[in-house]
């Protein structure tokens, strides 16, 4: 069993964790309550994103520097469908994920034979192009004006307008994503990905259809990113091209570098440590320096790669 899996199988560990997460909105936090729930919601959102990104660099060993592109695709898909057709969130979520997966495949298929740095560069360029299109095609996306007034999420006709309700919504999505990711990781598919990560040529030689398995990884990863984006659009109720800058890709990458690439619990831990820290720094630092908090992320990446490249919760290599 993966070391990483103990979190999900060891009841002594995960039950108390689950209870803390479930009762968090009901803790007596007083004035700070809504704010704490907001940060917790954001943290869970980034946990979803980290899980999605982890599939490509973590499981198949290909560095994705443009993950925010899928986040943006999901957010804009949800925003446009909501604004124009007023569809239910529960119809939009799968559609956004599907659209994300489509773009993941479109990006992945031509880059199948690329490795290492060239793959990273293509992912980066692709995501920058997506954001550029979003910024410039005013007829579709309103460009730099953004799309305001997106309807809140709803469930069985009830509008989820309380912070705790959206908190439970993203928690549900996170658990769903975790269930999928853990199941797939421990399946034949997951083993094929690890084989590709460790040695692509050897994997090909033992009969693994490398192209097919890579495409599945790209699709899954992109779908999760777009799912998170769809939630984000409905939660934040506003989308803008500047929300999907290169920084975001790096921030998400930073989460899985900290936790340990390929480690599912590591990606959760990375988000748990860094996202609240980001928010706290945003408040503590004077406004002109608040963007300089990225300095810490840059430094963190360098330090991790130097002294603990496998992350805080490394995966066991068999």
């Amino acid at each position: 069993m993966h070391l990483d899996d103990r979190l999900f199988h060891d009841k002594k560990l995960y039950l108390p964790l689950l209870i803390v997460v479930l009762i968090l909105p009901w803790l007596p936090l007083g004035q700070a309550g809504p704010y704490v729930i907001r940060i917790a919601t954001l943290t869970l959102l980034y946990m979803v994103l980290a899980q999605g990104l982890n599939v490509v660099p973590g499981f198949t060993g290909l560095l994705d520097l443009g993950y925010v592109g899928f986040f943006g695709i999901g957010a804009y898909t949800a925003a446009l469908l909501t604004i124009h057709y007023h569809w239910s969130l529960w119809l939009i979520l799968p559609l956004a994920a599907l659209n994300g997966a489509l773009w993941g495949v479109l990006r992945g298929a031509p880059s199948l034979r690329l490795t290492d740095d060239y793959f990273a560069i293509v992912t980066f360029g692709f995501s920058e192009l997506i954001i550029l299109v979003i910024k410039n095609e005013l007829w579709l996306t309103r460009g730099p004006m953004g799309i305001p007034g997106i309807a809140r999420p709803e469930l069985f006709g009830v509008v989820l307008d309380q912070p705790w309700q959206t908190y439970y919504l993203i928690l549900f999505l996170l658990l769903l994503v975790l269930w999928v990711v853990v199941r797939i990781r421990n399946s034949r598919l997951g083993r094929a990905w690890f084989a590709i990560r460790e040695d692509e040529i050897a994997a090909e030689c033992v009969g693994i259809n490398v192209a097919r398995y890579k495409i599945i990884a790209f699709a899954l990863s992109a779908a999760i990113g777009a799912l998170a984006g769809a939630f984000y659009a409905r939660w934040f109720r506003f989308v803008h091209p500047d929300m999907f800058k290169f920084w975001e890709s790096i921030l998400i990458l930073c989460l899985i570098v900290l936790g340990g690439m390929g480690s599912i619990s590591g990606a959760l831990l990375g988000a748990l440590l860094l996202i609240p820290l980001t928010e706290v720094l945003r408040i503590i630092l004077p406004s002109e320096f608040s963007s300089a908090r990225y300095l810490l992320f840059g430094l963190l990446i360098v330090v991790m790669m130097r002294w603990r490249p496998a992350g805080l919760l490394p995966v066991e290599r068999e």
């Binding site: 360029g125 192009l129 550029l132 430094l299 490249p309």
Partner: protein, 311 residues
């Protein structure tokens, strides 16, 4: 809108001059990417930040940001030397410890350093756009050097083009006719074999970083003067475009980087002028992706460095 043939052709010529100016700057930056990639197969993402550092240091030294204002030539010289040193330090601190790690680790570190340096500049100099004070820059730079009808070539453009050409020639001489250059080429071919033949790999890599970063610093200063704007994120886009130039020319190839820079500069200016100004930056991304997907070796590169298909 230009209507007559004369107006159109002079617009075209003016765009060509502007494109070549921009292209020679991209070439100066691209050479830094390509040299480092040639010797240690690393995309030095933080190279754009060295270029930004060149612009900021020269700005600070001439405008007295650090307390004393220096004469222009002295300030520029110091800025270039500090950039070269910064490149060497960058390698020593961040990349050298990872020489034997998987390539992904070094690549991620390079991205981390890029973000670190960019935000360090933000902390030191703030986010606003800085301009060189006109009084300290030699006046003649802004005067027209050549004028054919509507087409104006400023002295600054002449200086940029000449600087780029001279530095490229010097660089080619270093690479092809000195011991250092021979060592660099040896390492690029086969690092282990070079080390066995007595080449001090670490030292040569340091010199490579110094040369590339110095050129990047020069490019930063030239751009700072050309657009008269210096800001912490300037290295990001310029770095990407120069990297696209290096990829287009064939990463690892110095003549390729020069040609790629020229093409990128022209494509950007003409693309913005004749196709769409809002997608100006997109041209660089599109060229970069297309080259990688269709012809990863670029125009002059050695056949793919891709380990799977090396054959």
């Amino acid at each position: 809108m230009p209507t007559t043939l004369l107006e159109q052709s002079s617009l075209f010529l003016q765009q060509f001059v502007n494109g070549m100016t921009l292209g020679s700057i991209y070439a100066l930056i691209a050479v830094g990417y390509t040299m480092v990639y040639g010797v240690i197969q690393l995309i030095n993402f933080a190279h754009g930040e060295i270029y930004m550092l060149g612009a900021f240091l020269s700005f600070s030294l001439v405008s007295g940001f650090f307390g004393v204002g220096l004469p222009f030539v002295l300030a520029v010289t110091i800025a270039v030397l500090v950039c070269a040193l910064a490149g060497v330090l960058l390698d020593l601190v961040a990349y050298r410890p990872l020489r034997r790690s998987p390539r992904l680790a070094a690549l991620i570190t390079a991205i981390g350093m890029s973000i670190f340096l960019q935000n360090l500049a933000l902390l030191i100099w703030g986010g606003q756009i800085r301009s060189f004070p006109r009084a300290v820059i030699p006046v003649f730079l802004f005067a027209p050097a050549l004028q054919f009808g509507e087409v104006v070539v400023s002295w600054l453009q002449v200086v940029i083009l000449l600087t780029a050409v001279i530095l490229m020639v010097v660089l080619q001489l270093i690479v092809h006719y000195t011991r250092l250059g021979r060592a660099m080429r040896a390492i690029a071919q086969d690092q282990t074999a070079a080390a066995l033949m007595g080449v001090n790999v670490d030292r040569v890599v340091s010199y490579t970083f110094a040369l590339g970063s110095g050129l990047g610093g020069v490019a930063g200063i030239l751009v700072g003067l050309y657009y008269n704007a210096v800001y912490p994120t300037m290295g990001y886009l310029a770095g990407i475009k120069a990297f696209a130039a290096a990829v287009l020319g064939g990463i690892g190839s110095i003549p390729g980087a020069i040609l790629g820079g020229g093409i990128l500069g022209l494509a950007e200016v003409f693309g913005a002028g004749y196709i769409s100004s809002s997608y100006g930056d997109g041209i660089a991304y599109a060229i970069m992706i297309l080259v990688i997907l269709v012809k990863p070796a670029g125009l002059f590169g050695r056949p793919s460095s891709n380990k799977l298909y090396r054959g």
